[in-house]
Assembly symmetry: C2
Homo-oligomer: 236 residues x 2
DNA sequence: CGTTCGATTGATGTCAGTCAACCCGAGTGG
DNA sequence: CCACTCGGGTTGACTGACATCAATCGAACG
């Protein structure tokens, strides 16, 4: 992902190549898929889809990170997923013809690929292996949601925070001599809205983790995990 | 579901017929599926699968209700799903070769159908529509988990309880002149473990709902929802 | 350099958790 | 037929942890 060639063609290829659900296709088939793809770019803060809207395409993230969230009637935001390169969304509309049940917003500069509903349906028929790959992805996503539910329902606040930090470390962390450097996709408030707390509580607990020497905060958007064992202790 | 013929053959047919994922198959294909099915019966409290075990079959519920749950390292139970007739589980093992991430326990007398992993994989190849049906089911289940996360993360306690009661009403309720009669699948403690509260809190809030004339409790396992509008108010 | 937005810190309040007693209905055995 | 037990449910008093409100800080950006 580091050195992206900027010619249109390469980007297309990259998009389809990086997507797990297309991993079973050969070069020619990929080419076939690529021809159907439309690109679009969003900058930080832009809404990609809106809760309740009717999506006409499956959307795959090529580069960047987004959050999927809902608003309760009280106006509280609940973040459901953080999607990054290779993840797709909009499948609800595609598979069961249901409108989007969450909004999606770019957390940073984000490139997406779109495949129109009918095109994708045709692909599914043409390449049955695709269905299987999507099933795989859905099962993985389901497992993630199960973790989240357990995290929020049956765990104390410390464990929840440790849990998110570990999740982010796993997905976005790079090791170096000092520890694991993690570029946080979310602000304190975002983290709070992900695990059902308030930003103040998240702030306090993270400060505590820093005091204990378990993590180190570098600015607002980056942390270094010094002692990952301690974080893991409370997570099963 | 009311009058079940007890001969083996009928039960088999019933089993496959009632399952949404087999709804696209014709009589002959159903017969083909039926021949692969093994039946088993569990009584209330019996464990059907255990967290961490390797399941060799897909399991479909023919009759009865079960709960799927996990234990945190602190010993707290988090219920993830209530499955009933037509629902399946064990797909994790089947699709991504991962061990069970939750235990499943019968909440009442329960009949299940089992299809061996290899048999089911063969069915998937033979009837591509099956994959699509399973995708549908997974998407629906995912939507359910998203609701649950929102419920637990972004809502006050009253809304959470109202949410579960409405969910149960929708799945298990029968209308009559007085209101909607709901056979609760879970005890107070079970409800608490489903939405991340304690049994005392659930008990208190339900008593409150009764005082307000919104519901009426009949014994411990049944409620009548008198004023469903009030329950719905707090749920979006 | 100033403005702005997010993060932090502190003081206070509130509500769900905890602990404990009691209730109630079902089942059991004398 | 009644006494006993047992498990789940309810109720009450108290506590503590997180939310809330408010002030301040500080980093990023123009």
């Amino acid at each position: 992902m580091n050195n992206i060639c900027n010619c249109d063609n390469c980007q297309h290829k990259l998009c389809a190549r990086n997507v797990p659900i297309f991993s079973s296709l050969d070069a020619e088939e990929i080419q076939n898929v690529v021809s159907l793809i439309v690109h679009k770019q969003y900058s930080k803060g832009e809404l990609i889809i809106f809760e309740g809207s009717n999506l006409e395409s499956l959307i795959i993230i090529n580069e960047g990170r987004v959050k999927a969230f809902r608003h309760t009637y009280e106006g509280k935001e609940q973040i459901l997923y953080i999607f990054s390169a290779g993840d797709f969304f909009g499948e609800k509309n595609l598979i069961i013809n249901q409108e989007a049940t969450y909004s999606v917003e770019a957390l940073e500069e984000t490139n997406i690929c779109m495949i129109r509903k009918d095109d994708f349906r045709r692909l599914l028929k043409e390449y049955p292996m695709l269905s299987f790959k999507i099933m795989e992805e859905l099962v993985i996503r389901l497992a993630h949601m199960e973790d989240l539910v357990e995290n929020m329902g049956a765990k104390n606040v410390e464990s929840r925070i440790n849990g998110v930090l570990l999740e982010f470390a796993k997905k976005y962390g790079r090791s170096n001599s000092k520890g694991i450097i993690v570029e946080l996709p979310l602000s304190r408030e975002g983290i709070a809205n992900y695990i059902g707390l308030t930003r103040e509580t998240v702030s306090r607990k993270m400060s505590l983790l820093q005091d204990e020497g378990i993590i180190e905060m570098v600015g607002n958007k980056k942390i270094i995990i010094i002692d990952i064992k301690s974080l893991e202790k409370s997570v099963e």
